[in-house]
Subunit: 201 residues, 2 copies
């Protein structure tokens, strides 16, 4: 059954928790869901594709988007901007498509104040030790960088009480099934099925 | 994963919507869920079993339960009492088992005021005409009784805005899948997974 309007879903979680794998699996399994690609001014890394990993723009364009109010949220890290375009999201939601945002806790806080009806999901690893193991297994970062990511994760975990749902990424299939249940339950909310009710009035 | 506490679920819906079939299917598919059998003072109908369809008690015993505060909610219809025992429910919830109540909108309103954390699910047919067809197909009621049930259904539909979720029983398997998603999503709520968070603090 078709919903009147799509659901905005904010997904956060520490670096190394396996968010991208979970998102890729979710997108492959579910219809009517759109992943919002962020905008950034940083340089593409090897293998990153414009429009897939990020929309890569220059500072002038990013600052134009800020001034024009085109961003739902944005932040600056290490001299680079990262942000979410409002326009693409709005079009999808209006068309009844769910929109998934993968953003950090600060960006999520901004979305929460602007879109109180959004769903906020935080993904955690089964344990802190497992997060450390996963970061080591990626084999892309030095010990210092890993230590920094773990420290950052501790700060992010403190934001969990501001989220609606907590999903544990022990196995990817389990985490995806839980997110699917959360999205299906959201579709069943009375306020999302008001149009059905008119015929019973 | 084990939750700290079970979830109380209130299911309402008009006579003829197919609630009992949905509930039977849900109970057969899902673990850690307990169906709370109501207490009544009315006489068992042919085929009804004590402890399965209802717990059949006499008026003296029912009134003792009322005085002793043993009922979560109760109502009197056509000179018979119907009610939900608090004790059995509490034991299951404390053991981490979900408890399903099949009660009418008035009983649901009482549970809502006493248990604001409960999930309230209303089951509707795909259309009003289909409800009428299903009541005729049961072939158990006279035209007058069916007309009365349909009239009562209209009143019940007006209570839907007080429920959290609206499930359409078009196919039983679809309705069961939606209720399963609602229950799984409830398990994922941050407030139901607080114990997991302690290790990340």
């Amino acid at each position: 059954m078709k919903r009147e309007k799509g659901q905005l879903i904010v997904l956060s979680g520490p670096s190394g928790v396996g968010k991208s794998t979970v998102i890729a699996e979710l997108l492959s399994q579910r219809n009517h869901i759109y992943f919002s690609v962020s905008y950034t001014t940083r340089q593409p890394r090897v293998g990153e594709q414009n429009g897939v990993n990020y929309n890569f723009v220059d500072r002038t364009e990013f600052e134009r988007m800020i001034s024009a109010g085109e961003l739902l949220e944005y932040a600056e890290y290490v001299d680079n901007y990262y942000g979410t375009s409002l326009k693409a999201i709005q079009e999808q939601l209006d068309a009844g498509v769910d929109v998934l945002l993968d953003i950090e806790v600060q960006g999520a806080a901004k979305v929460r104040s602007r879109c109180p009806g959004a769903l906020f999901i935080f993904i955690i690893p089964p344990s802190f030790e497992e997060l450390s193991r996963r970061l080591h297994r990626r084999n892309t970062d030095s010990e210092d960088v890993i230590a920094g990511r773990l420290e950052k994760a501790r700060g992010e975990f403190r934001e969990i009480p501001n989220y609606d749902y907590l999903v544990i990424n022990d196995k990817v299939s389990g985490a995806v099934a839980e997110i699917e249940a959360i999205l299906t339950a959201a579709e069943c909310r009375v306020e999302n099925r008001k149009s059905i009710l008119t015929q019973f009035a």
